[in-house]
């Protein structure tokens, strides 16, 4: 079973994929929250530009974003190595998608919560950060977990700009041995081995949240 000798390479690729996922999720959600706040703003000069960013990010396929960052931006002097380009591109896409999830979560917080905080005399900032945001984040969690799983799968697109992630290492291995079926099947299983339990976890979390937070 000579396939075993390629496992370390796939393992290394997996590590890169997980790094890309971690970066795009952590920074993507943070930027996503800022975008959500921007879109919810009453100020037109803030609202409309952020809305455009969000719609562009959700409208353009992730692969196109990666090409723009990696091949396009150097022509205006912004040069990134392939890993950085992948991280930036995926973060952008994740930010755009997560912003709408976060915005929906924040909007789902009952109006009475805001009224109660106002009636108590809480200042607007602590009303948002301590009352509204924690509840909004909590109701966004299921959607955000789903997006994290999708962005893990989406890291395979970084293959197209020669990042040595899981998919790209699988391609190299299979092009040496011509065991395409076996290696891609293993690659698929590796993705699934991470994604499927994560999905189960997110379903479990969703049930827990629904139960404890009616």
């Amino acid at each position: 079973m000579d396939l075993v000798q390629y496992l370390p390479q796939l393992g290394q690729g997996l590590l890169v994929s997980l790094q890309l996922t971690a970066i795009s999720v952590v920074f993507g959600y943070a930027v996503g929250l800022l975008l959500a706040l921007g879109v919810s703003s009453q100020l037109p000069w803030l609202k409309w530009p952020t809305l455009v960013i969000v719609e562009v990010g959700r409208g353009i396929p992730s692969l196109v974003v990666l090409y723009v960052v990696y091949y396009g931006l150097p022509s205006i002097g912004l040069l990134f190595d392939n890993f950085a380009a992948a991280a930036i591109g995926l973060t952008f896409t994740v930010a755009a998608y997560s912003s709408e999830m976060l915005r929906a979560g924040i909007q789902s917080v009952h109006r009475g919560q805001n009224e109660a905080a106002m009636a108590l005399g809480l200042p607007q900032t602590s009303t948002f950060t301590r009352i509204i945001l924690p509840q909004g984040l909590r109701s966004s969690i299921p959607a955000l977990m789903g997006l994290a799983i999708q962005s893990f799968q989406g890291t395979s697109l970084a293959y197209s700009i020669s990042v040595s992630e899981l998919m790209s290492n699988a391609y190299q291995s299979s092009s040496i041995t011509f065991q395409y079926l076996q290696i891609y099947a293993i690659t698929g299983l590796v993705f699934a081995a991470i994604a499927v339990p994560s999905t189960w976890t997110s379903v479990w979390v969703e049930h827990r949240l629904a139960k404890g937070f009616a």
Binding site: E115, L120, G121
Partner: protein, 261 residues
């Protein structure tokens, strides 16, 4: 016990609430038409009337959850003019003097009962965490809910949640309290627990304005009864007198409808 609840909550004296020529419209719909009410310090005013009469809107104008179009609101020494621009400072000042209890409780579901009562004290009065929580526990004890302190609100019954909501407002030493149908979402039996706490508060000298359908409470506890319909005050006076001999036909119809339930 009544004196205890009020002394625990009141470090400042109750304030009067005066509303003068208050009006508010939503588009063409005039929901409040030139309303004036004077609530003396330490007195209880009950607001009754059919739904859509504007009583809740009136209550919500007092702490500016709704913005009136015209008129003035005075709580203690703070006066707000409807037409003038209200500074954030004046707004917070007004709201900090007036506690409000909602029909749907509106406790913060992500915080324990203790934090629900302590957190606003820390943010608004600048109390330390220990001080705020100690005070919260004392007040929760007074309404018989100390053992619920470390639970979340969703583990409490409706009547318990409403008593916690009252305590949350009292912990900030309000000078007047607004109640917006505080027992309407509760089973009658459970509502009694809440009404008992409100009776104590009233007995202790808290200024209270209560929108309610609880006629017995209005008769026994309130000093002044205001009947509203279609954005107007149609009748006001001593509760027992109005209930026994309503002058207006509209009041008579409303009272017989409510009392027959």
């Amino acid at each position: 016990m009544s004196q205890q609840l009020i002394t625990e909550s009141q470090q400042v004296t109750s304030a009067g609430v005066t509303i003068t020529n208050l009006s508010k419209s939503y588009g063409d719909n005039r929901v409040l038409d030139n309303i004036s009410i004077n609530v003396k310090p330490g007195s209880v005013t009950a607001l009754i009337g059919p739904s859509g009469s504007g009583k809740s809107t009136l209550l919500r104008c007092i702490n500016l959850l709704e913005t009136p179009d015209e008129g003035t609101i005075t709580v203690g020494t703070t006066t707000v003019e409807a037409r003038a621009r209200v500074s954030d400072r004046a707004l917070l000042d007004l709201r900090r003097q007036v506690g409000m209890v909602f029909q749907s409780f509106n406790l913060f579901p992500h915080m324990s009962v203790l934090r629900n009562v302590a957190f606003p004290q820390e943010k608004i009065l600048g109390r330390s965490r220990e001080e705020a929580e100690e005070r919260a526990l004392t007040l929760l004890d007074r309404v018989g809910l100390r053992e619920k302190a470390h639970q979340h609100p969703d583990r409490c019954s409706g009547g318990q949640q409403q008593r916690i909501a009252i305590v949350r407002a009292l912990a900030l030493n309000p000078r007047a309290m607004l109640f917006d149908e505080p027992t309407s979402a509760l089973d009658p039996e459970v509502g009694l627990e809440v009404l008992a706490v409100m009776r104590e508060l009233a007995a202790g000298g808290m200024t209270m304005i209560v929108v309610t359908h609880e006629m017995q409470f209005a008769r026994d506890v309130s000093d002044h009864l205001v009947v509203m319909a279609d954005g107007h005050i149609i009748e006001e006076g001593r509760p027992a007198e109005i209930m026994a001999n309503p002058v207006q036909e509209r009041t008579r119809r409303f009272l017989s409808a409510v009392l027959e339930r």
